[in-house]
């Protein structure tokens, strides 16, 4: 994992000291709210319905135990004993006092964390595959490239005031777990005909009120030219992206108005005249960053202990293994998804005690590594199979043993009207009602992979456009209504869900979801997921099923 050097440490410490001064001046009345707001946003501080919210960056979702313990401490000391994992793999605290935030940032800096560029019109936290460095299917670990992008984009003077926020995701496996097709820039590592690894470059994907799937503007970019090519894209966007209309300011609008080909030509023209050597990293620097992500000291083919026998003896464990445990590139190891979707908590919420438990397990059993996922769960990336049963038994008493990864109750939900100042409707209580309705694990397992994603307004933080079933909250004369979309996907088969008819009332919506799922169960062919059946049959029969409920 990357460790700060003296420059990182200094810029973060300087930034905290600067923000401490800004908060003091705001409280004293020396600067106005209009002056202060952009400053607090640059430091990840929002004002929500009933408190401030602090968004802390977790670069490409990688954490160590000390960082997780520090987040637990912050949640306990300055918040209501929990944090919330976001769809950008970050963590949010929902209740910090403004006057405590400089101290919180000091605590974060002690463990090499900060909240810089988690808000505002700049390049945000780079996201990645939660199984990076572990997945049996990846070409290579994408995180060194994420780190290279992080360093390049942090305080980049040219890109600190973009037309709008900017999000980059990187993945290196054929199965896209980082949603690269719905990012401003998606980088998908692939091999070319000569067997070299490079990046397929997609631009102009995004959700929000105008969703688009990203388009490929370069089939293959050599790895060592990544930064200059990104810089060329950002330059074109920075000069041509609209600043007059917030709803048209994202790069997706520019790419779709110009057409992907014209956009590509502009990028290539910019790139051709650039002094690439000034921007691209020299080989030894690329190697230096890669060294931070060297594979852990795996044992060679370790004994799997009671892994097989425990599955025979404990059905709950066997189920957890089926859904939450994945193949690892190293024999004798596995990656584990720790579900943050029990029915008793808001999706993505994690208490201080849970964070501390996961930190302990990571330190003892997982080479001190934890990941956050864009689906609002945690991952232990490298666990010996022999340790899995013992870990499983530790998780259940803390509410972290849910065997539902990828199933109907593994719902993405934005904070919605319970916290968010922009919301039309609540998201979390609806997620909880759906989870309750499908509580029976046999039933969930029978339904199979089904991604439900809920947003409380058109800003789409809950990624509803790319849910197999997407749910968007709409306000109808002060009443909560929910618009259903079907057939979306954020994976390698990315698609934007189609709206299927009128919004449903709070009372109708859970029954309607159940009818859709029953219809799918009746009509599916062998091995078909919900989204496959939807794609085969088309929207009409599903629409009928939705409205007979």
């Amino acid at each position: 994992m990357y460790r700060y050097d003296e420059f990182d440490a200094k810029i973060v410490a300087d930034r905290v000291a600067q923000f401490r001064g800004q908060v003091a001046r705001r409280v004293e009345g020396d600067i106005t709210e209009d002056e202060f707001k952009p400053l607090r946003l640059m430091n990840g501080v929002y004002l929500q319905l009933h408190a401030y919210m602090l968004r802390v960056a977790i670069p490409y979702g990688t954490l160590n135990a000390a960082q997780l313990r520090k987040l637990a401490f912050i949640a306990r000391t300055y918040d209501k004993n929990f944090g919330h994992i976001t769809t950008r793999q970050n963590i949010q605290f929902n209740w910090p006092a403004l006057t405590d935030i400089p101290d919180i940032l000091d605590h974060l800096a002690e463990v090499e964390m900060h909240a810089i560029q988690t808000s505002g019109n700049c390049i945000r936290n780079v996201t990645s595959d939660q199984f990076a460095g572990a997945g049996a299917d990846e070409l290579e670990d994408p995180r060194p490239w994420c780190e290279i992008i992080r360093q390049w984009s942090t305080f980049h003077p040219e890109f600190s005031f973009l037309p709008r926020k900017f999000k980059i995701a990187v993945t290196a496996a054929p199965q896209d777990r980082a949603a690269v097709r719905v990012h401003d820039i998606g980088l998908h590592m692939k091999k070319n005909a000569d067997g070299e690894t490079g990046f397929e470059v997609l631009v102009g994907g995004g959700l929000g009120r105008t969703p688009y799937i990203g388009q490929v503007i370069r089939e293959f970019l050599p790895k060592d030219q990544l930064l200059s090519y990104l810089e060329a894209i950002l330059r074109v966007y920075n000069s041509l992206g609209r600043r007059d209309n917030i709803y048209k300011a994202r790069i997706k609008i520019l790419v779709n108005e110009l057409g992907a080909e014209a956009f590509r030509d502009m990028v290539e023209a910019e790139w051709a005249v650039m002094d690439k050597a000034r921007i691209d990293l020299p080989g030894d620097e690329i190697e230096r960053i890669h060294a931070y992500f060297a594979a852990p000291d795996f044992e060679n083919d370790p004994d799997t202990g009671d892994f097989d026998s425990a599955q025979g003896a404990d059905k709950g464990f066997a189920r957890w293994v089926r859904h939450n445990v994945r193949a690892h590139k190293q024999k004798g190891y596995a990656s584990v998804t720790l579900s943050l979707k029990p029915t008793t908590m808001a999706p993505g919420d994690i208490t201080s005690e849970q964070m501390e438990l996961v930190a302990d397990i990571a330190q003892t059993h997982c080479f001190d590594e934890v990941r956050t996922t864009h689906e609002q769960n945690l991952v232990l990336p490298h666990v010996r199979k022999a340790d899995l049963y013992a870990i499983y038994q530790k998780l259940a008493p803390y509410g972290l043993g849910s065997s539902n990864a990828g199933l109907v109750s593994d719902i993405i939900a934005c904070p919605g009207l319970d916290y968010c100042n922009l919301a039309n409707t609540r998201s979390i209580p609806l997620a909880q009602r759906i989870q309750k309705r499908f509580e029976d694990l046999d039933r969930q397992e029978n339904i199979g992979e089904l991604k439900i994603k809920i947003s409380g307004c058109i800003n789409a933080c809950g990624h509803h456009h790319v849910g197999h079933i997407g749910i968007l909250g709409v306000d109808k004369k002060g009443e909560e209504f929910y618009q259903v979309t079907l057939g979306g996907s954020a994976a390698e088969d990315a698609s934007i869900g189609e709206i299927v008819g009128r919004g449903l009332s709070t009372d109708e919506v859970v029954d309607a979801i159940e009818s859709l799922i029953s219809f799918y169960l009746d009509r599916r062919s062998d091995g078909e997921r919900f989204v496959d059946t939807y794609r085969r049959l088309g929207p009409d029969p599903f629409k009928e099923a939705l409205y007979v409920a």
Partner: protein, 116 residues
């Protein structure tokens, strides 16, 4: 013919008109907690005893609140009704304002007990 009531912000991104009974609400600068303006000009975290205004009085109260920048952030007029001695949220933003005054609906530990 009388002009239409003035257009006002009603919190978040929503807009409305200055019609009916209003309270002035905002977030406290120091900790962001939802607060309400009382008759004596002080701010409290319970809606129950908030001052109720109508028409130009509401606009004047809002204007006064807007200058109290070292105490509150983002004041606006919310719809209320008086229920006996108590002021409660009303109107189109009823749910939003109920959540602002009582806390999130998802976990009782986050509720604000003084406004049940």
């Amino acid at each position: 013919m009388a002009d239409k009531p003035a257009k006002i912000s009603t919190g978040g991104v929503k807009k409305g008109r200055n019609e009916g009974e209003k309270a002035v609400t905002a977030n406290r600068l120091s900790d962001g907690i939802t607060v309400y303006l009382y008759e004596d000009g002080s701010w409290h975290d319970s809606l129950r005893g908030a001052a109720v205004f109508e028409g130009d009085d509401a606009l004047a109260a809002l204007e006064q609140a807007t200058v109290e920048e070292t105490i509150v952030v983002g004041p606006y007029l919310m719809d209320v009704v008086q229920d006996g001695e108590t002021v409660v949220p009303a109107g189109r933003a009823l749910l939003r304002e109920t959540i602002r005054s009582a806390g999130p609906t998802i976990k009782s530990d986050y509720s604000r007990t003084e406004v049940q």
